[in-house]
């Protein structure tokens, strides 16, 4: 069992800096989610931990070992790829056994371990099939079984759910959380999906343009985003941003989550309702300010304003977050 420590890790490809001086301490048995838009460097970071890329600068520690110059094989890790990377010519059994076979484990022992892993993931009936004869969800489980069969200290997962349909993704999320609790390993999980980040991670590390923007428990990152980028990346619809002086006097940008926007008979801002989206359990009301800026409010009220109506916009002071106009960094009021 081991944690992972990234100490000033950078990766440059020619002129491009993919990962920029990242410092991150991932605890033993933690479920760390690396979150960010595509191209933010999260996958490159994961690949450096795996040993598939060499860092240009910095140190990567797994447990007590500095692994910069250690081959993937010796790092005690397993990786699940977005494509699952199953061997199409091998049966499910042979796929799951492969990491053990590659390490010279005997036939008997690895057969036993593969059956255990398969049972944990409900694959026992499919052992003699080949990947081509499996559904997307089943393939994904085979990839997971192959990762856990060796009982590694660290599991690296690169967007493992992104090829599943929405329903299956929801189910598999819950199973991955359960799996994390059972296998007692450290999980490092790359995704661009904020729902996965919010629901699965014990902590979330949000990245943008190679930089680590914020690290913390999901709720804390959601409630107190360290920057405008984090504030707008996490949450659907994203946080509303008001120019300085619009919602309240002052020189900072003011951010308010849609669920904290109050549509009222009076308030500091007037707006017109442009769109009402009824989602069953809630409504999203898009309003347009006189300066054409859109503000989205989320409400559970059924009798809200209708399209075309004039409304007043307000938000309680405790729900207003402030960001610097220049840097976008959070400013404490």
């Amino acid at each position: 069992m081991a944690g992972v420590r990234l100490s000033n890790v950078s990766k440059r490809f020619g002129e491009v800096t993919a990962v920029d001086n990242v410092v991150l301490d991932i605890g033993d048995r933690e479920f760390m989610v690396l979150l960010g838009p595509s191209g933010c460097g999260k996958s490159t970071l994961l690949r450096m931990i795996a040993g598939l890329e060499d860092p240009t600068d910095g140190e990567i520690w797994i447990g007590e070992q500095l692994v910069n110059d250690v081959a993937p094989k010796q790092r005690d890790i397993a990786m699940v790829f977005q494509s699952y990377a199953l061997y199409p010519h091998k049966t499910v059994q042979a796929n799951i056994e492969f990491p053990l076979k590659a390490r010279g484990v005997g036939v008997r022992e690895r057969g036993h371990a593969a059956r255990d892993a398969a049972q944990l993931l409900g694959l026992s009936e499919l052992m003699s099939r080949k990947p081509g004869a499996l559904s997307g969800g089943q393939r994904q489980r085979v990839a997971l079984a192959r990762a856990i069969v060796r009982n590694p200290a660290v599991f690296l997962m690169d967007e493992p759910l992104s090829n599943l349909d929405a329903k299956l993704r929801g189910e598999t999320r819950a199973e991955l959380i359960a799996l994390h609790q059972r296998v007692e390993g450290t999980f490092i999980y790359v995704t661009h999906d904020q729902v996965e980040a919010m629901t699965m991670g014990t902590r979330v590390a949000v990245m943008q343009r190679g930089l680590l923007e914020q690290v913390g428990p999901p709720q804390e990152v959601y409630d107190r985003p360290a920057s405008l980028f984090v504030a707008q990346f996490l949450g659907t619809p994203p946080m509303n941003v008001f120019q300085p002086g619009l919602l309240e006097p002052g020189e900072h940008l003011v951010g308010v989550r849609p669920e904290h926007i109050r549509l009222d008979r009076e308030g500091p801002l007037t707006a017109r309702v442009a769109l009402v989206e009824a989602l069953g359990y809630e409504r999203l009301i898009t309003c347009v300010l006189p300066n054409e800026v859109r503000v989205v409010a989320r409400t559970s009220e059924v009798d809200g304003p209708r399209e075309g109506e004039a409304v007043f916009i307000d938000a309680e002071p405790r729900h207003r977050q402030h960001f610097d106009v220049e840097t976008g960094k959070r400013v404490e009021a």
Binding site: A50, L52, K73, A78, M79, H89, K90, F98, A102, R146
Partner: protein, 295 residues
């Protein structure tokens, strides 16, 4: 048949016509003509020919000349196909790296595909020439000296094999490279993380996923080997000792062949070669396809 159906059938025939004409003129007519010719004896250069029927096939199959040439042909395939496959695959794997300058090596390795067999043969004729040949002068082997590799009864066929392997290397290299590029990188990376070394990645990822490409290469290289003609005609003329390198195709077309002027016999041998290649290809497909995984 209704009027529209007739019209549709006519239209379909019209669309098929260009292909039918081309195939008819260049494949079906010559094939039929060859089979017909094979039933006669004689007939070269407008000479008289006599009908002998299927008896001719029996005669050819019984003859020492045909049996000998068949043996030479299969030996030649045995020399060239496995070695050609291994060399082509090896070069492709070596060049399948994202390194600076690899484009240059890819061009070099595939260059023989743009070299005609006649040119390739002439290059090797110069290389192996016993007095002034480049290889003769830089390599210390006695066998390269007069009368030279191509006139040595033991080495003539292997020497032709080398020329043929060299001439086919570009083709094999290109299709193997194409096959390699179809293998997802993830599979290699996954195997690497799981602890598989280079050889294990080669045997567990590269070879199985190249299965269809390898099968294709084996069939095509075998057919090419069984049809080899130009190298022999240019480099050995079927000799030394008259028939050491006389393959079935050389028996058919060669100017030194014992049946050189008997169109009927030539046609019979040609039809037999066609049947043999058909059977060999079928056996290869049947035998190898069970081991091949199509993605």
């Amino acid at each position: 048949m209704s009027r529209t159906r007739t019209r549709e059938a006519l239209l379909a025939f019209l669309f098929l016509l260009p292909a039918l004409v081309l195939l008819g003129v260049f494949v079906f007519y010559p094939l039929g003509r060859t089979i017909w010719l094979g039933l006669y004896r004689g007939g070269g250069f407008g000479g008289a020919k006599t009908y002998v029927g299927l008896q001719q096939y029996w005669d050819v199959l019984q003859s020492n000349e045909f049996r000998h040439s068949l043996g030479v042909t299969f030996l030649f395939a045995l020399i060239t196909v496995p070695a050609g496959l291994v060399i082509g695959l090896g070069l492709a794997v070596l060049a399948d790296k994202h390194l600076r300058g690899m484009r240059f090596f890819r061009t070099v390795y595939s260059s023989t595909v743009a070299t005609s067999v006649a040119v390739a043969s002439l290059i090797w004729l110069v290389l192996l020439q016993p007095q002034i040949g480049v290889l003769t002068n830089i390599l210390p082997f006695e066998v390269l000296k007069e009368p030279g590799l191509l006139q040595d009864p033991t080495w003539a066929l292997p020497a032709l094999g080398i020329v043929s392997i060299w001439a086919n290397a570009g083709f094999t290299f290109i299709i193997m490279t194409a096959g390699l590029q179809g293998i997802p990188r993830d599979l290699y990376e996954s195997a690497f993380v799981d602890g598989a070394g280079g050889w294990r990645r080669f045997t567990n990822v590269t070879v199985p996923l190249l299965g269809p490409t390898i099968l294709f290469a084996v069939v095509v290289l075998t057919v090419r080997a069984l049809q080899t003609y130009a190298e022999i005609d240019i480099l050995t003329g079927g000799g030394p000792q008259g028939d050491v390198t006389t393959t079935v195709t050389y028996l058919i077309y060669g100017r030194n062949s014992v049946i050189a002027f008997d169109t009927g016999l030539q046609a019979t041998v040609a039809v037999l070669l066609f049947l043999i290649m058909l059977v060999v290809s079928l056996i290869q497909f049947r035998g190898l396809e069970r081991r091949v995984h199509y993605g």
